[in-house]
């Protein structure tokens, strides 16, 4: 109990920091992988479309980045003498990004994968898929902004 009170703050803060990298990171990795797989099928026949397929592949990559950015921002707040309350606060601040990151990356990747088919059949319409994809990203972005706002509002 004493241990929890004395070092719990730091532990929870770091827990928040790591998990907010881990979950959105898994989501993005999965998403980028899915699109990459579909894109490789395309590039066999049409190597010229590599550049465009790369754009589609990169779209679900942002969630992982958002998680990472939050981790970096927490880094500035880390001190050995963080109180338990402060540590839990940081953990909770991470929750929006931690939770929304994973599913939104996968959902986005599904649209991107469909976009690869569009890229194969009707290249001109690809921009429209990008728009659909970015619409999903809005929610990851809102979660990210919420996490940032919570972290910024309270200064220890």
């Amino acid at each position: 109990m004493n241990f929890l009170l004395s070092s719990g703050g730091l532990i929870f803060a770091v827990l928040g920091m790591t998990l907010t990298v881990v979950f959105p990171g898994i989501g993005s990795a999965k998403g980028v992988g899915m699109v990459g797989e579909a894109a490789s099928g395309l590039v066999i026949d049409e190597p010229d479309k590599f550049g465009k397929s790369l754009i589609l592949q990169l779209l679900p990559a942002s969630q992982g980045l958002y998680g990472f950015v939050i981790a970096i921002m927490i880094l500035g707040n880390l001190r050995p003498d963080l109180s338990l309350q402060q540590g839990l606060f940081i953990l909770v601040a991470c929750l929006p990004m931690m939770i929304v990151g994973y599913p939104s990356a996968v959902a986005q990747a599904r649209i991107s994968t469909a976009g690869i088919t569009i890229l194969r059949r009707n290249e001109e319409q690809m921009t429209k898929t990008i728009i659909y994809t970015v619409m999903v990203e809005t929610y990851a972005l809102l979660a990210f902004v919420t996490s940032i706002i919570i972290l910024n509002t309270v200064v220890f």
Binding site: S62, Y66, V69, I72, M73, I131, V134, M135, T138
Partner: protein
């Protein structure tokens, strides 16, 4: 600065002048043809042409094939990739030059030399009907060699058996055969792959093919020709690399001819939309009102004056008038945004100049960084100056160039240079004052929506529906302004003095909406119900306005990501010289990624605010685009008349 006024035209020309007329029209370019073939009545019928589309497509395919193999060959030779500049560079040429140059190109010769499997008219065998397997599908070189080395089956088939036999034979895809009729049947010469030989011999038994020799049938010459064609092909295939080496200049010729073929195919395809009698062809379409006279002269020149032409300005209410937008230079790139949604109807406003200012402001607010803005500006400016790009790419680049300006301005307001690389004081710090930024975003939202509503009123005005301005616009203004004053009381006392007025305005507005907005319903209870339902639409406005908070959210996200990368760079550069090196890489890649993701988000979300919130208030769209009388080009950008 608006939708270009169109005239609908009808032209009557003699059938024998039609090719010249088509050629003239294609050079003129700026017309959209109307499909009037459905209105055909005797003596008129849908237009026909004896143009050889098949030959055209056959040549197109082979030119493309040659160009592709050439590209592959060049890649193998050079091993280096094309530079960025080269991959965006396009050849430009005016239509007249294209026509002239293509006339001096000997396409048969070029394709025979460079087309691996091109079947020239010259390679026919006299009196014989030949079927060449490599014409229909690609054959590997070793298969061709096997064909040439196989023993030929030569024989005669009786008249009764001839046609079923040839039909069966045509099922084998890799058979090189020729036939010629004789008195009581046909002579066939067949070369096949070893794998097909067994099956073919059975087939020959079945149809009583009488085996003979070339000598006894006196077809030695033809037989030799048949072999020569195949051997020529093989040696051509073997020496292909050497040939490609010498191609150089001819590549351009092939591209020119390809575009020429595409244009020719396009203009003759359109003939089926015309009406034709035995002597006269009627064509119809739209042309810019200002250019109608010019078009008449084009027809006069192509027909030596034997024609009839009439053009009449289109009425605003006409539905199918094709839409062409023409805006000032600054606004023109923003037609991209309008076109992506939908072209306006002929009786609507061109929304392009109206959306431009807000779009630019929103985009800048979301990307908001001096460094990113400068990067965009310099990059786009250089690209425009140095590279000759496709028209559509050019438009996109100048679009970005214009958007770099608000990006820089908002960067100055937020005091952000590459995510805070150089510390500077802006008017606002988005990391701390995000509440204020959010209020500013909402204020922009209200402004944007009110502007949209005003445009709706303007549209009613030009359609002379003055009462509707009061019902659908003024009442809404009153209700919304009142509501905003009252809601602001929940957060601030700034507008306290106006509370009473706000309440009155809101009540008048809402009552007006309930009383008038159900006017299209038939019964009194129906009117009341749909009036109330319209008032319920005010919740949409709440949603619409809240939607503008994304201006703050995206700005904050971009700024935070940039800042995080700078933190990493600072940490790394504390590690010594290799840290600095590594830090520089992180800086370049990180900010590159941020420009890409934040820029893309800014582009998409500004478009969304325009389409859903702004257009929702006044814009319908759904106009058909004005298409020029030319096929879309692949290799060469074909210039307009100068």
């Amino acid at each position: 600065m608006a939708i270009v006024r169109m005239s609908e035209f009808y032209g009557y020309v003699l059938n024998e002048d039609l090719p010249a007329v088509l050629d003239g029209l294609q050079a003129f370019n700026a017309i959209t043809l109307k499909d009037i073939a459905a209105q055909a009545q005797a003596p008129f019928a849908a237009g026909k042409t004896d143009y050889d589309f098949e030959r055209n497509r056959y040549q197109q395919e082979h030119i493309q094939h040659v160009l592709k193999s050439m590209e592959r060959f060049e890649k193998q030779q050079r091993k280096t990739k094309k530079s960025l500049k080269q991959s965006f560079q396009v050849m430009h040429m005016s239509y007249e030059t294209l026509q002239q140059r293509s006339k001096s190109i000997d396409i048969e010769y070029l394709l025979e030399t460079y087309g691996e499997d091109y079947d020239t008219k010259a390679s026919a065998i006299e009196n014989f009907k030949v079927s060449k397997p490599w014409v229909h599908s690609r054959m590997e070189l070793d298969k061709l060699i096997e064909l040439s080395q196989s023993r030929a089956i030569i024989g005669t088939v009786s008249s009764a058996n001839a046609s079923p036999f040839m039909k069966e034979l045509s099922r084998y895809r890799m058979v090189y055969a020729m036939e010629t009729p004789i008195e009581d049947g046909i002579i066939v010469v067949i070369r096949c792959l070893e794998s097909d030989r067994g099956a073919l011999e059975i087939l020959c038994e079945q149809y009583d093919v009488e085996a003979r020799s070339a000598k006894s049938l006196q077809i030695i010459d033809a037989h030799k020709t048949m072999d020569r064609i195949l051997n020529d092909l093989i040696s051509k295939r073997k020496g292909m690399d050497d040939r490609y080496e010498s191609m150089g200049y001819y590549q351009e010729e092939l591209k020119i001819y390809y575009e020429y073929l595409r244009q020719e195919e396009f203009r003759y395809q359109k003939v089926s939309q015309f009406l034709q009698s035995q002597h006269v062809t009627i064509l119809a379409g739209w042309v810019e009102s200002e250019e109608a006279e010019e078009l008449e002269q084009v027809l006069a020149k192509a027909t030596n004056g034997v024609f009839h032409f009439s053009a009449e300005a289109c009425d605003l209410s006409e539905r199918d008038v094709p839409i062409k937008l023409r805006n000032k230079r600054l606004f023109r790139p923003f037609e991209l945004i309008t076109n992506m949604y939908s072209k306006p109807r002929y009786n609507e406003l061109d929304p392009t100049p109206l959306l431009t200012v807000f779009y630019a402001v929103f985009f800048g607010m979301m990307l908001a960084d001096i460094g990113y803005g400068l990067l965009m500006a310099v990059g786009c400016f250089l690209a425009l100056k140095l590279i000759q790009m496709k028209q559509s790419t050019r438009q996109m680049i100048s679009f970005l160039l214009i958007l770099s300006v608000p990006t820089i301005l908002w960067g100055i307001i937020y005091g952000s240079f590459f995510g805070g690389l150089i510390p500077m004081r802006g008017l606002l710090d988005i990391q701390r004052d995000f509440n204020l930024v959010m209020v500013i975003s909402l204020a922009f939202g209200v402004l944007h929506l009110f502007f949209g509503l005003a445009l709706k009123g303007y549209l009613y005005f030009i359609r002379k529906e003055y009462a509707a301005i009061l019902y659908d616009v003024v009442f809404w203004y009153l209700a919304l302004i009142g509501a905003i004053i009252l809601i602001s009381m929940m957060f601030t006392d700034l507008l306290k003095a106006w509370q009473g007025i706000g309440l009155v305005l809101m009540v008048i507005g809402m009552a007006g909406i309930v009383l008038t907005n159900g006017r299209s319903a038939k019964t009194i209870p129906g009117k009341a119900a749909s009036g109330l339902y319209s008032l319920y639409g005010i919740t949409n406005y709440v949603g619409d306005i809240v939607s503008y908070t994304r201006l703050m959210a995206l700005g904050l996200a971009g700024a935070s990501i940039g800042m995080a990368f700078n933190m990493i760079v600072t940490m790394l550069s504390a590690l010594g010289w290799y840290g600095v090196l590594f830090g520089a890489a992180v800086f370049a890649i990180g900010h590159g990624f941020n420009v890409f993701i934040s820029g893309l988000s800014a582009y998409v979300h500004s478009a969304r605010l325009t389409y859903v919130e702004f257009f929702g208030k006044f814009y319908q769209g759904g106009g058909a685009p004005f298409t020029n009388f030319r096929a879309a080009s692949t290799y060469i950008e074909i210039g307009d008349k100068t």
